[in-house]
Symmetry: C3
Subunit: 190 residues, 3 copies
């Protein structure tokens, strides 16, 4: 896998500058700021034929919850492009969210691409997203999004619709900081 392939696979890439973090009140430890990245998986967004609405909607939720969104990217519904984006982002970023490509249409390959580059999956997180989402629409049962770990990074697949993506993310976001601590080995486990 050459780096040119990787660069070639990325249709759009932007690094968002974040405002400086607020200083913590004196005497209190600064809350840990967790880095996040968003990968929008969509042929039409990658081609510029459609505006990416899910990525920004997900970014909004993450920022409200003290994540620093350090990278956003748009890739096609192509397994290699998705894998390349995830592998590169996981070097630096702790929480990587994808939107799109989780359904059962022939071009939906995000779950398989994610599984291919994860060390292990956390089925309970995917179950929880589906369970919460099916309270809104029964069709959420067709979403095949997974959650997995690659090294110390966590990767979470969200559906492609802005509302579906936000609902699914909110269903599990409370778990993520703790999960990231566990992945780093910050645990009572022994």
């Amino acid at each position: 896998m050459s780096s040119s392939t990787v660069d070639g696979s990325v249709e759009k890439r932007s690094i968002e500058k974040q405002p400086a973090e607020k200083q913590p009140a004196e005497g209190r430890p600064a809350p840990a700021v967790l880095t996040a990245a968003i990968v929008t998986v969509s042929d039409s967004c990658a081609r510029g034929q459609r505006a990416d609405l899910s990525g920004p909607a997900v970014a909004e939720v993450l920022k409200k919850r003290a994540f620093r969104v350090v990278a956003t990217q748009i890739v096609q519904d192509d397994s290699m492009q998705i894998q390349n984006a995830l592998v590169h982002l996981a070097i630096e970023v702790r929480f990587i969210v994808t939107t799109g490509g989780t359904g059962i249409a022939p071009r939906d390959v995000t779950p398989e691409a994610t599984e291919a580059i994860c060390d292990r999956l956390i089925d309970g997180v995917a179950e929880r997203m589906r369970l919460e989402s099916t309270k809104k629409t029964a069709f959420a049962a067709l979403s095949r999004g997974v959650c997995g770990a690659r090294g110390k990074s966590l990767i979470l697949n969200l559906p492609g619709s802005p509302s579906g993506a936000v609902e699914s993310l909110e269903a599990v976001l409370d778990l993520i900081p703790h999960a990231l601590n566990l992945l780093e080995g910050k645990t009572e486990h022994s």
Copy 2:
């Protein structure tokens, strides 16, 4: 895998003639009629030692929901027989339902046989069947039935008891027409 093996594996096979579809009211598009097949997986039914009650119960539910049941088949609890039946049916039929062989007894091999011939699984559908069924009986948690896609066809494993099969089917049947559209690529996905 020779075709003689395939034919040899099918204990009973019948093609049910369906009544002609009702004509749609003038000016309205005809509702799409989806084809369905039922594979009863049971050693004793295949041997003719027991009447197949689940297959007809499932057929009744499908017909009420505008599926045209074009084939029914009874096979033994044998992985090759199950795979052969599913592979052949998936050439022509869009929705293939199995009943039986989903438990944890040594002869229960339907889920493994289904996985072996599916392109991919849709875990959320299996989860939903179990979640609904466990409201009736906790033992439904032992059902290992899966739902998967092979090409444009959807395959769904139901338990062997008539009531369990009908309950599990009804828990997810609303999703099937939409799922079949997605498999055919009829989607906003791009």
Copy 3:
């Protein structure tokens, strides 16, 4: 895999003597007594740096439910040690419970070790444990414990905390005697 490796992998082993079973009331068949074993998976317990609280808590629950706990063992968070313990216990014992190593920290390998030596998994049991446990704490979604069969034996992964282990076990314990009957082929299935 030599037997010396197996013996070397077991940090502590004890066979608990059970009180004699009560005689059944005259004219009634004796209730079947099912054998159980508990494997505590914990580096610090195996090193003797921490007392094993989960193992005894789980044993208490099992004994109340007519299981005869015939073996308890403590092993490190090491895949080979876990596999060796499970493989040996499954020769004699019908229900084997593990506690610990089900999370997502780097040393948590109990689910993978269990999958490696099981003939097949029963996803619905793991789903049920998580569903019940998440009613107490959302973090239960991060538990990756599985339930699987090896021959006629059932293996169930519980989390490491005493309360989590007991809650998860109680969520599915009603299913176990029936599941063990099915594994032995005592079923109407045919």
